[in-house]
Amino acid sequence: MATKRYDKLQETLYYEKLDNGLDVFVLPKPGFTKTYATFTTRYGSIDNRFRPAGGEEIRVPDGIAHFLEHKMFEEPEGDIFATFASQGASANAFTSFDRTVYLFSATRNIEANLATLLDFVQNPYFTDANVEKEKGIIVQEINMYRDNPDWRVYYGLIEALYSVHPVHIDIAGTEQSVRSITKEMLYDCYRTFYHPSNMTLFVVGGVDGEATLELVKANQAAKTFPEAGPVERIFEEEPLQVREKRKEIRLPVSLPKCLFGYKEEPAPRDGSGAIRRELVTRLMFDILLGPSSSLYQELYEANLISDGFGYEFNTGSGYSFSVIGGDTRDPDALVAKVTAALEEAAQKGVAEAEFERARRKRIGAYLRMLNSPEAIANEFTRYRLNGGDFFELVGLYESLTPGDVNARLREHVNADRLAVAVVRSDAV
């Protein structure tokens, strides 16, 4: 067991890699009533083609990682939610592009709840009947999102940006792909991606660091796992060009929804390169598009944006793109104004004072986030999977310069790699 002390943040992190390969982290938060735990596998919607250790290449139906997440909650003795409820824990799970996360939060019975979390995720139980039953539920989940214009425009943009990489495939799949899933496929995916060596446990809150680690160790030592072999994930090469410059989707909305973004080559995922890039990109957008930017105020005054205007940067294995936009009366005017401003900034560079303000704001937001066990667990794991340390972000932010932002602007803002997605009532 190792501990790492982060003096400035007044936090101590306990860590151990267990014999079976599981990464375990515990962050005690003295004075906290609640404990929050996430059990994460590095397996998400993009992992749809792979070669398991010693096996043949498999292409699985869209939405299967998410389907598997749903199905994990069923155990031979019934629904695991009931067990968590008896122990006063609120449990949940989610699937993203590159990970699946199982979690609970509780204020009592932490030992029992941790054991339940580890045990249910490490005990798949799929039958033909329970797999069939889940399909109706997931189809309703898909239908719910189909009626949601924010979701549609978001996916519309990714579909416009990517032609090959599976990031453009809806995490939940389609009704058709979901209907084709069988219990055998679920077991294949489970065996490939749920080995402890592909997983991370993070526990944060009112717990003792050492005792919690010991408990997890004992739980894992009592189980046997096959030898972990290398899993080969197969991604076809994604062209640098966007798939379509513009995509329109018809759905009834009060105002058109417009998202646009730039596609770029992903940063190498070893070392801190990818993390640095992410932080610099955030600062870049805060400076140029944040609520205190002159462009934001200008667009607001021109009634081209409202409060929902925003931006994000999304990157992972084989993909890297920005998402900018919101509701607007005139998508073309909005895109034209924002891209012109970004291109101009790429020429001229950003002002030192604005850089400082944006950095200070980001550091403040980061420190505020450390009040939240949920945010700590999720962000720590995300950074870890990308090769970084969430608790060292202040130092990283402090090491950045306006020159980094300027270089990043020139790298990211490329009119040839821009795509636009619009949801509107009158789209054809």
């Binding site: 008896s86 309703q140 009834p252 009040n371």
Partner: protein, 431 residues
């Protein structure tokens, strides 16, 4: 459970509530401003905080206002407008890091209280009224917000259901106001409405963090320029009775999934001694994944992805929501009504009772870890005029028996079934 307690004070009309705690790396501030919900005032009151966030006397330009927040280490500032009982509440929130964690020479708590005080009581003005430019722009923003509610079908269906259920009382009014009333507002009228609002409202300022009432009092006194007087308080809500026969409202829009919502009256509100039993009722019926609605509508019948119930304790209303295949309307209504009947018959398993108690107790304990949630919980009690705290509510919950839940179930009445469906096919309720 509560390791720290609120310290209370008053400054003229402003009630102060300070929670000294070292648990967080931040100071959290909330300011609640409430007046009775009325047709004539709902829209100007909703518009007011939008205009207030455009600028203050010291930071009259919106950019300087936003930059000021950025300079305070990216202080989080925002507001919410909602209905609580028969009141329309505007809540301003500010959270800011404790100076201890940064090499700052600014006393950040003082800066935060100053800022909030100025937002409420010293807005940017021109010729003795709001700036027209801000008022016009924010009218557009509010109008767009109101129009956008229909984009989110889950929220739209929930709001429409309550509107239909309460169509003969002020509670039908949306917290964001009414689009048609925006046209008649200008800088002068809105400023007058704002002055009246400030004079009539119940005002509560909450501060949580490594501080004390003694420290906050002089800061608030300097920051808030309010008229004299003594604090007013919130009146209990009028509780409505259900219709003799439930009404069914079907609305058609371009949707793929049907949204089935139900509105029920309970006759019990937050201040009632039966409230803990009602919380248990809601937990057993639909608040959790082990509840009857989730288990029967989703897990057993595979009809929905979500099926849940929600309690509005301040108005004594209970709502049910689910998203279903349009053709499954009758089936879903049947299953949900059966769950309501089962609750009335007192079919409450011992294991489910214990689960529900454990989950509710967990929620109550968890909120101790969030400054804003502790503040909201306390404000709910202040608003309802009860002296419950987390510990006493836990004790009350622990004591609830299945008989008490069944008793409460007798007073829960279905009032409205609302169904949002597609434009195609069928003549009435689903086909």
């Amino acid at each position: 459970m509560s390791t720290e307690n609120f310290q209370r004070g008053r400054l003229g009309r402003l009630r102060l509530h300070v929670l000294p705690t070292k648990r967080f790396k931040t100071f959290a501030l909330s300011l609640f401003v409430g007046i009775p919900l009325t047709e004539s005032r709902v829209t100007p009151v909703a518009l007011t905080p939008f205009v207030l966030r455009r600028g203050t006397a010291s930071y009259p330009e919106t950019i300087s206002f936003r930059e000021r927040l950025d300079d305070l280490y990216g202080a989080g500032f925002g507001f919410d407008i909602y209905k609580r009982g028969d009141f329309q509440i505007v809540q301003f929130k500010l959270d800011i890091i404790n100076d201890r964690f940064v090499s700052s020479r600014q006393p950040l708590l003082k800066e935060a209280v100053d800022f909030l005080g100025e937002v409420l009581t010293s807005p940017a003005l021109e010729e003795g009224r709001f700036r027209s430019r801000y008022v016009e722009a924010e009218k557009t923003t509010v109008r767009k917000r109101i129009e956008a509610i229909v984009n989110d079908k889950i929220r739209y269906a929930a709001e429409r259901c309550v509107e239909e259920m309460c169509k003969d009382e002020p509670y039908r009014l949306p917290a964001l106001g009414r689009k048609d009333d925006l046209d008649g507002l200008d800088a002068e009228k809105l400023y007058e409405a704002y002055r009246n609002w400030l004079n009539d409202a119940v005002l509560d300022l909450y501060v949580s963090g490594d501080t004390t009432l003694e420290e906050v009092e002089p800061l608030a006194e300097a920051a808030f320029k309010l008229s004299g007087g003594s604090p007013s308080s919130y009146a209990p809500p009028r509780l409505r009775k259900a219709r003799n026969e439930p009404q069914t409202v079907v609305e058609r829009l371009d949707v793929g999934q049907g949204k089935l919502n139900m509105g029920l009256t309970t006759g019990i509100s937050f201040g009632d001694e039966r409230y803990p039993a009602l919380l248990m009722y809601n937990g057993l019926l639909g608040a959790f994944p082990h509840s009857k609605l989730f288990v029967n509508v989703r897990e057993k019948a595979s009809l929905a992805y979500y099926a849940s119930s929600r309690l509005d304790g301040h108005k004594g209303l209970l709502t049910i929501q689910s998203g279903i295949e349009i053709g499954n309307y009758e089936k879903a209504v049947g299953i949900i009504r059966e769950q309501l009947a089962s609750m009335r018959r007192g079919e409450i398993g011992e294991a489910d009772l214990l689960r529900t108690k454990a989950m509710l107790a967990n929620q109550l304990r968890e909120l101790q870890d969030s400054a804003f949630e502790r503040i909201s919980f306390d404000f709910n009690n202040v608003l309802a005029g009860t002296d419950r705290n987390g510990d006493s509510l836990l004790e009350e919950l622990e004591a609830v028996t299945p008989e008490r839940v069944a008793e409460v179930a007798q007073s829960v009445e279905l009032d409205t079934i609302y169904f949002l469906r597609d434009r195609k096919g069928g003549s009435g309720d689903g086909d």
